[in-house]
């Protein structure tokens, strides 16, 4: 699997596909019957772009993100990451895929409580091939001044920014964020989005961000709306708004 080259040439990026899904379907078998989380999703996501996924609870956006991140497998259909079909991979390979190419940001930060901010980042840099230094990653998200603090000593916004630093320190090809501002107030949320934006700008990381919050869509290159397991709408933002000016 090739590692994407860094580039800040957006016009070039738009032509290179990061993810492509064909007829992606996910059915959960429950006692109450089959639940269709995804009903045939076909989409292409492009390198270096920021994509925001909107949609109500249960619309399938999280399932979609999990499949992109190699955490879940579709019931039917294919997912291509660059030229490789993720759906063909076994668990060990998916682990390597996540390790080399994917950065995750969780709604509840999921920092390791026993490690300081710097160590949380180092946790990932230690197993990466060409990482940023932990200090640089933390600097990138504006956390350069609190590197030796434990998660319990940081606010929610600070924790999430450390989480972003941790996710991007390995220079992932893709950054997947599941409701990164869901647990934060609007001001802190904005600071986290700014960090994500900065990473996208400086490292050219393909970013996929799930949110309930339609206000965030304005910072995206592309906005994908999910409804009932399908893509209801795809919009391309001609004019992106800087994250710092977002309000909700």
């Amino acid at each position: 699997m090739a590692v994407a080259s860094e580039s800040s040439d957006k016009s070039h990026i738009q032509t290179e596909i990061a993810f492509r899904t064909i007829g992606l379907t996910k059915v959960y078998e429950t006692e109450a019957g089959a639940v269709h989380a995804l009903r045939g999703v076909d989409i292409e996501l492009f390198k270096g772009e920021t994509t925001v996924m909107l949609g109500p609870s249960g619309s399938g956006k999280s399932t979609f993100l999990n499949i992109l991140g190699g955490l879940d497998r579709p019931t039917a259909g294919q997912v291509y990451f660059q030229d490789s079909e993720l759906t063909n991979f076994d668990d060990a390979f998916l682990t390597q895929y996540r390790r080399r190419h994917v950065g995750f940001v969780f709604q509840f930060y999921n920092l390791i409580p026993s490690l300081t901010a710097r160590e949380n980042v180092e946790l990932v840099t230690e197993i990466s091939e060409r990482p940023l230094s932990a200090a640089a990653a933390l600097e990138l998200v504006g956390m350069g001044h609190r590197v030796d603090h434990f998660p319990a000593e940081l606010s929610g916004g600070e924790q999430q920014r450390v989480a972003v630093a941790r996710a991007v320190a390995k220079r992932p090809d893709v950054l997947l964020c599941d409701e990164p501002t869901g647990a934060l107030d609007s001001k802190t949320g904005v600071s986290v989005l700014e960090a994500i934006e900065q990473v996208n700008r400086e490292l050219g990381t393909t970013t996929v961000l799930i949110t309930h919050n339609a206000g965030i869509a304005a910072m995206a290159d592309r906005v994908v709306s999910f409804a009932d397991g399908r893509i209801a709408d795809v919009q391309i933002n001609k004019q992106k708004i800087p994250a710092g000016t977002l309000k909700w």
Partner: protein, 791 residues
Amino acid sequence: MVNRLKSLNRKLVRDLWHIRGQVLAIAFVIGCGVATVVLSLGTLNSLQETRDAYYERYHFADIFAHMKRAPRSLLGDLSKISGVRRVEGRIVHGVIIDIDGMVEPARAQAVSLPQTTVSNLNGIVIRVGRLPVSGSTDEIVVHEAFAEAHNFTPGDAFWANMNGRRRMLRIVGIALSPEHIYVLGPGDLVPDNRRFGIFWMNHSALEAIYDLKGGFNDVSLTLSRDGRVQEVIAEVDRLIDPYGGIGAIGREDQLSYAFLKSEMDQQETMAKVFPPIFLAVAAFLLNLVIARLVETERQQIGLLKAFGYSDFEVGAHYFKFVAVITAIGIIIGWAGGAWLGRGMTEMYAELFRFPFLYYLIEPKVFIYGAVVSIFAASLGTFTAVRRIVKLAPAVAMVPPPPTTYKVNALERTGFGRTMSQPARMIVRHIIRWPMRSALTVIGISFSGALLVVTLFFLNALDEMTEIFYFDRERQDIVITLTDIHSDTAVKEATYLPSVMRAEGMRHVPVRLTSGTRSERTVIAGIDPENNLSRLLDINHKKIDVPEQGLMVSDKLADMLGATLGDMVRIDVLEGRRPIVTVPITKISRQYVGIGAYMTRSALNKLLKEGPVISSIYLQVDSAREAELFTALKKVPALVGLMIKRVSLESFYTTVREYMDTMIIVYIGFASVIAIGVIYNAARISLSERGRELASLRVLGFTRQEVAFILAGELAVLTWLALPLSGFFGYHLGSLMVDMFDTELFRLPFIIYPSTYGYAALVVLVAAAGSAWVVVRRVSNLDLVAVLKTRE
């Protein structure tokens, strides 16, 4: 009220089912504690009850005395001693017997049956057949153990060498006696029922054989309520003195009684030492589990209280949780203890010969086992349950504050900087809960210690056997003569077939007194050039018998409260009964029995006798042993014969069989502790860190890398526990040495390095196994859920 409790009970059942692995692991640890209580106290109780009933029903005597020959009139004098209730004279004599199919001669003790039919002292219990008919001279009743070893039934017969004449003895009955519950031949360490037995025959027949017409050579006495053992013994000694009495003994010195008592003391020791170990571990594990449960169910507890459940009801709910686990443990313990007890009793039935051995554990033993484990469980979970009761609903509903960590001292060192982040996580998690980590380490180390102390017994026995049979007793055969003989007999013995070397010894029963303490023993008179039975110093090296004064064994010195240079009074209990005072000039190390030694010439001089001996030690050519046995069967002056090889073999078969069983049981016990502690520690760690570990998986850590964090913590704790196992094992072993220090034998305190190795190996295997079961679950971590759930 009833309905809400119903739903709480349903929750209880489901919660218990949810952590069934942990429930079972803890229940087994409790079970082991209860089982050891039931086993030890149950066996002790059974032995005690059986023994007491047996002694009472068959009139086991209180005092025993042996002499050369005494007239029947002496019995009247003895019965007049104040405090004496009944007196019975009899004839007891050592006999060499020749059994078809046995190359070597066997030994036996012939005991006369009373002439009256009224219930007599040390009454025998006929198991099969009958008593000899009145007037018969060749009918005998044999002890059941001896009969079983030879498959004897009434009608069988064997040859005996009695007072220089070979006689055919016919078995008419098989019996047991309270005097011979533990049948041990002279010089043996364990019973050898093939080569030593007891038989009874008519008094008149033995009178005739041993020229004791109208007389006897052995007396048994019982005391009335106000009879004092020591006073009566002194009076008996005075009266039997003119008749060659060799000093009366009380029950404490009666071999069968002493061995049975020693075994019972050991059971009592076990009941004191082992259950607390298990119950302490169980208390800790329960605390661990309940504390974790409170942590995970914090919001539920708040909710229940908010719904209107009282503090008491909520507390009681969690207490029930503990109660159910404890109850399962108690049931396992009762069943396991009863089962092991049955096995133990069967083993005892081989060793101790009772006409009835009811294995009846009294209800109080079961209740005691249950009560102590309930106490331990309550103690272990008291603080956790109290925390539940005290938790205010509003506080409980808010998620607990995040765990705070600190950089620890270890990491500030150079070593700390080289640590990977996962290693850091392991170290910080251990240090964050120092008490829990310490108790886990201690818990695991108990398991190792239990193994060290169990295997220590093997080491000690090996060492004891090595010292006793090879360093000390280097002869092949010891023959005991009927009476003293001129030491020219030693030279004659060298003419016997296969004999390569012969050495004479003089043994004489004495009472040694130092200050207010007094002990009965035997002085062995040894020639300085003797080499077949050696005396050893504290380092197990040969030491010579002192030219002057008396050498005593270390235990005897201890019992007398005497040391080098102290004067001891020797009251010889035989012959002219001289009394002398001599200094202790040497002390020898001796693990079996007690003893005193001087040169044979000095002993002969003390006894005012010529150069005489009472036993001969032989070194023989084992290839021609059979010829020697054939010859010995015909030697008239023989009363005893000890063949070392045979004695050693029977020691190994008996003791090893017993030890092997014990070792399997204790390896099981130790594994239960190790598994219980490690499995629970691992499960709780997984439960606490599941989210953390799943996050790492999402971040691209492999299963192995994540498993490393979980298993690494357990590995660190287990490794820390290993040296501690050795430390606890060493001290527990030393405690055992003190507890097993009796007049009969002592254990050398030696723990082979391999013992620590084996103990560590078992702990590591148990640890690895139980950790594996948990670490496997890393594969099942829900990676998707972790993205959505809050801690």
